[in-house]
Subunit: 361 residues, 2 copies
DNA sequence: TTGTAAGCGTTATCAT
DNA sequence: ATGATAACGCTTACAA
């Protein structure tokens, strides 16, 4: 007779008994137990085969693989995540997908994330109240995330960092404990504005865009004012506030142009600029003869518009891709010191800023 | 001495002993156990409070909530998914995000999915080999998914359906066991082509687009040929193959137009059409005087191009939103019979198809 | 109203 | 090379 201490440990999986009999039900996928039973091995061996862990005999391996494909077994992702303590997924948070900018950024991001074996969750905040909760919820599903400007406040980001979540911010000022990726907004604004003032000789400017809402815009505003000051041109006291949207651009431009039209109108993005062109033409102003207009982003429409829109081309896809790479490094634990990077942009001269000698459209 | 059968069940959670002492480590979030201990209740009660399940005394509830916020506790998503047997997430699979079409669809989708309390995973296939594996991997992370055309074969979709995964296809022919959502491609192609033949009197046509690659395109081709036949206009034997891209459109149009230019060129989307306009102008053909060109999608660039591009406007966002709704119904188990829906489109007449009496741009 | 503990489906440690 | 089983962190039936 055995003493209590000699009694074999009761199996933790008492409930496993009677597991059979629920096969074939649609929507109920098989588990590692069914595969193990079918193959006549333990679940540990099945797990080894699935994960490619070394140390499984070739014929055992074959047998398991056959059962796997017979039963069309797919491991449960939640169980795996729970056991591994990771999600093999990352997230990206942006304000909205409308307009090509965010779509391109996300595309660049997804591509790299997929290459590094990570699924991608997206979240748009739409400037909604619940943004904080949604972002925190997302944080529970991923191993790290990228957050774009104009989504949630720095307090939320600090919370994420304090939870130990790898974080990269994009098109947003750096925050403690996170990497950042930005386009060269100030430099390109400076170059663009200098081109307008120096090369075309424009002496009266306005800036259309909401500098308070976006770090991109406020950087562009800063480069704009700096260039004007350096060129000895009067500097407007503030940007003309305007959301990132074509209709808003048209409306804001209409109000501005009726009143006291400047000679050159620097818009915070192409959508605003295209709206402004429409407004200018409706008011009988010729672009660029009466009014120069420029944008940002180099959308397809900028190339096809009449007149062609002078703008700044941003490496949108590269921004997303770089953010994905930096996030991957952080998640993999390859690096801890924050890294802040600025990607170069390019001035694209077309007809809307004034006539160029070598103009071709 | 007790018989074996009388031995009390060994607790499943032997390892819980000694759980304390690992607090404060960054990146290691607290669990329901810490909260329970802090609040002086059991984990079941914490769970009830977190889930809002009825039957918790107000003061107990308060105490728990305080501990939750003290410890900044967020439930583990994988553990929750494992226990609940659901992910509270859904996925959307598309070929690529470039161009505004997919971005808009995804945006409409995400918005509705978020409203129904579901996170959104995205997957782009890029026409890659690994598409099947990626899609199956995604399937393990979601409660249901939407698959767009030109991503994976019907065999993969059948596999998903047989696994019991709720499925909606978008811009793709219906498959057994899944809902489908499409735009009225054939009808709008018919209307567009009839407009060109009847209203503008064009008698020689070509169609630019790869009908084999996309159900959208093959439906458009069908409506196109039907309209020509009904108008008594010679029907081309086949589409001029061309990918969905501006450069490809330009290249394909160049080859076509040098040879034997038709009077009207119907393109499968706006990007192709805009490329074709560029090609036509490079060859000295005037649009629409020498050659009418039309597109599909009504991109921003179609509105701003010179000449304005006649095109078909699709409810892209609504397509995504509807797919999300249908998927939600399926996931919730509200409905089992497949539903196939076709959303209306709209012909947008601009200058590129010929001169209209009431033309305004 | 609250607690106990089984169960979710994996991974990985430790024996053998 | 393989098996037994603890552990992952929750939800929920059942008991009290």
């Amino acid at each position: 007779m055995k003493a209590l201490t000699e009694i074999p440990q009761a199996p933790g999986r008492i409930g496993r008994i009677g597991r059979a009999g629920r096969t074939g039900r649609a929507g109920r996928s098989d588990t590692i137990y069914e595969v193990a039973q079918q193959a006549g091995v333990s679940i540990a061996t099945v797990s080894r085969v699935m994960r490619g862990t070394a140390g499984v005999a070739p014929d055992t391996r074959e047998r398991v693989l056959r059962s796997v494909s017979d039963l069309r077994y797919t491991p449960s992702r939640s169980a795996r995540s729970l056991a591994e303590g990771r999600h093999a997924a990352s997230g990206i948070v942006f304000p909205d997908l409308s307009g090509p900018y965010f779509a391109e950024v996300v595309l660049g991001y997804e591509e790299v994330a997929a290459e590094t074996g990570r699924s991608v969750l997206i979240l748009t905040t739409h400037g909604r109240e619940a943004a904080r909760e949604r972002v925190l919820d997302l944080a529970a599903r991923v191993d790290g995330m990228v957050v774009l400007g104009r989504t949630v406040g720095d307090d939320v980001l600090a919370e994420l960092v304090s939870k130990g979540l790898p974080l990269v911010v994009l098109a947003r000022y750096p925050v403690e404990g996170a990497d950042s990726v930005n386009a060269a907004n100030e430099a390109s604004a400076y170059a663009l504005t200098t081109h307008l003032a120096r090369d075309h000789g424009h002496r009266s400017f306005a800036f259309l865009g909401d500098a308070g809402a976006s770090t991109d815009t406020s950087d562009r505003w800063r480069g704009f004012t700096q260039a004007l000051a350096d060129c000895g041109v009067p500097v407007p006291s503030a940007p003309v506030p305007c959301p990132f949207d074509e209709d808003d651009g048209r409306a804001a431009a209409e109000r501005l142009l009726v009143d006291r039209p400047p000679r050159a109108l620097v818009c915070a993005n192409d959508e605003i600029a295209l709206g402004a062109i429409t407004a200018a033409e409706a008011l009988g102003l010729r672009v660029p003869d009466d009014l120069a207009i420029t944008g940002w982003d180099d959308l397809m429409a900028a190339r096809h518009s009449r007149p062609g829109l002078t703008t700044v081309s941003q490496p949108m896809r590269a921004l997303g891709a770089l953010a994905a790479h930096r996030l991957h490094e952080r998640v993999a634990g390859d690096r801890n010191e924050p890294r802040h990077e600025v990607l170069p942009t390019q001035l694209v001269q077309r007809a809307s800023c004034g006539h160029h000698p070598e103009e071709n459209r």
